[in-house]
Symmetry: C2
Subunit: 355 residues, 2 copies
């Protein structure tokens, strides 16, 4: 196989565009897709020629391994348009690395840089019109890979499909977010797949999250499954805690996803003189800090919502409210990060990549 498959990409253009029928002011997250998708199959031990073609359903066998054994991984990233109408990606190399880390953990083939990064550039180039100008407007990017080989025996597939689909999105705002600290359920095991962006990790959280929703809480902050004493992360976000003027966040590792937003916020905070400590925060510490008033903020960090301030949390049926701060770390950091993403501030870190 050529090492530059992306140069041979087949592009089949949609005969008409859906774009004029889309209300870009009123988008529900992840519901609408652009005109095209990228598809690249792996078989006979190699990646085949990628194709970009109209977004549409495809055929799959009922015995496909993805349905039975869950070989499915994904990434979540965004494209931004600057004032000069240029389209930018944010740290795509990080998503590429993480995708292949996930692939390895699920015994799936790694994707070449050529297909992943080259594929992103090719499809984003074609869908420029779908990336709208103005802060808050983004094109959400979903690369994913599924096992399409057939057979109901619990063994890795020999055939896979890598795809990129795109969905226009406004900055994800989920209203006031109250969270529950997990006391019984867990999202990841020691030696498990918590650090992979594996499809199976998400369905595992739906039922406990539903129980939380029924009690009036939007999300769960997961704790370590063995002792439920260490705060880890939320469903699709890493979590930061501000106690006095120090920002704490758990180290990533086997149970916690290595978030791109998390690591970018850490770098920005450090650059700007905020004290950041990367260590596990204990539930008992959090409760104490909430009681003595030193707990100033909790916020989630992830691609979809960027930064998501949390207004209060529940633990053992007690509810702890967080103070409303004027100039919170959450809002400062969000502003600084999105300014880099939209090319409104100098990208001194070299994070942005032009399409």
């Amino acid at each position: 196989m050529s090492s530059n498959l992306i140069n041979e990409i087949d592009i089949v253009k949609a005969s008409t565009s859906k774009i004029s029928s889309v209300d870009f002011e009123n988008l529900t997250f992840g519901n609408i897709f652009t005109d095209h998708m990228l598809m690249c199959d792996f078989k006979d031990g190699a990646w085949q020629k990628p194709v970009i073609k109209p977004y549409e359903p495809f055929m799959i066998d009922p015995s496909a391994k993805v349905f039975h054994y869950g070989q499915a991984i994904f990434e979540g990233m965004k494209a931004y348009k600057d004032e000069k109408d240029d389209v930018w990606m944010f740290r795509p190399d990080e998503n590429f690395k993480r995708f292949n880390h996930s692939a390895k953990r699920l015994a799936m083939p790694e994707v070449t840089e050529d297909i992943f990064i080259g594929g992103l550039k090719a499809i984003l180039d074609l869908e420029r019109e779908w990336v709208k100008k103005g802060k808050g407007n983004t094109l959400y990017i979903r690369p994913f890979m599924i096992a399409i080989g057939s057979g109901v025996i619990a063994q890795p597939s020999t055939q896979y499909r890598f795809m990129i689909i795109l969905s226009p999105a406004r900055s994800y705002y989920s209203g006031e977010v109250k969270v529950i600290i997990a006391e019984h359920y867990s999202r990841a095991a020691n030696g498990g797949i918590g650090a992979a962006k594996a499809a199976g990790n998400y369905s595992a959280q739906f039922y406990p999250t539903k129980l939380a929703n029924e009690r009036g809480f939007q999300q769960i902050i997961w704790t370590d499954d063995a002792t439920h004493t260490k705060l880890e992360e939320a469903g699709t976000m890493n979590v930061f805690f501000r106690i006095n003027d120090t920002l704490y966040t758990a180290p990533t590792g086997e149970r916690i996803l290595d978030g791109v937003t998390r690591k970018s916020l850490i770098d920005i905070a450090k650059r700007d003189g905020i004290n950041v400590e990367i260590r596990s925060v204990l539930v008992t510490e959090l409760i104490e800090a909430a009681k003595d008033g030193s707990l100033k903020e909790i916020f989630g960090a992830g691609t979809a919502a960027v930064v998501n301030p949390i207004v209060g949390f529940s633990y053992q049926d007690n509810y702890y409210e967080l103070p409303k701060l004027e100039n919170s770390y959450a809002s400062q950091l969000k502003e600084k990060l999105t300014n880099i993403q939209y090319k409104l501030a100098d990208d001194t870190f070299g994070w942005t990549v032009k399409v």
Copy 2:
């Protein structure tokens, strides 16, 4: 919706049968499917009319939740033909219960008994020819459910597809099985989905199993993820340990699948005067018993292989060989269980159900 949807089932027969092209003496497990499949969709909050139709691929959206968030569960069971050409299922009520337990844990809708049990009977009735007479011949049954609703937001789907597909199988024999005791990787978390037959649990095991394979071991015996000191189960089998003349097996619970074979073997063993203790066996106990010669047998128990004797195990790079026994518990119990399944022995437990 009617509570007897199965009475309204649509049956679309295949115009020709593949059966004459199948070599029933040389079957690879899970590779070949019968002429028909059952399909039943859930939408608008209700199960729709089920249909049996020719086995074939179907269309699905690239953003289907099953691909991104892993809402996918399954069951594994078998049909047997007796000497009078009657077709039998084994404890289908247990698989039905477990299926709905899995559904609940993954925030998927529960299936009605009508659709699950009635559906099994309807499709097995149609595919009688595919169930071959003679011990060792079976028709493997794979009921499963996937989330087919579209949208890349991490929330439960509102649309699902329940299916039953069937694959002729010989008793699964995997040669001499040597296992590794897990020291680092794990299959399930406390408060996780280990007790559900969720697709995501299986892909999580592929990479560690590949590492074991590379070292010459076929399977892994999983230990508790927090301490790796307690023996739990294998990839698709519960595990029994015989120390002197007592049979030990771990209690099922949140991390261990409640296997139908396991519970049936326990009942048979108890009936026949074998001492059975249901408790966690520690790795240290196992090593000690291996060293002092009191460890007589280890075997896996699951629908695919029925009973799978293990010839040796590795722990911390030491290999422990098991004695070769004449009249092992494994072979006695397998014989007794399969005699019930094939109607060669009285079914005093009332486990078999005629199609």
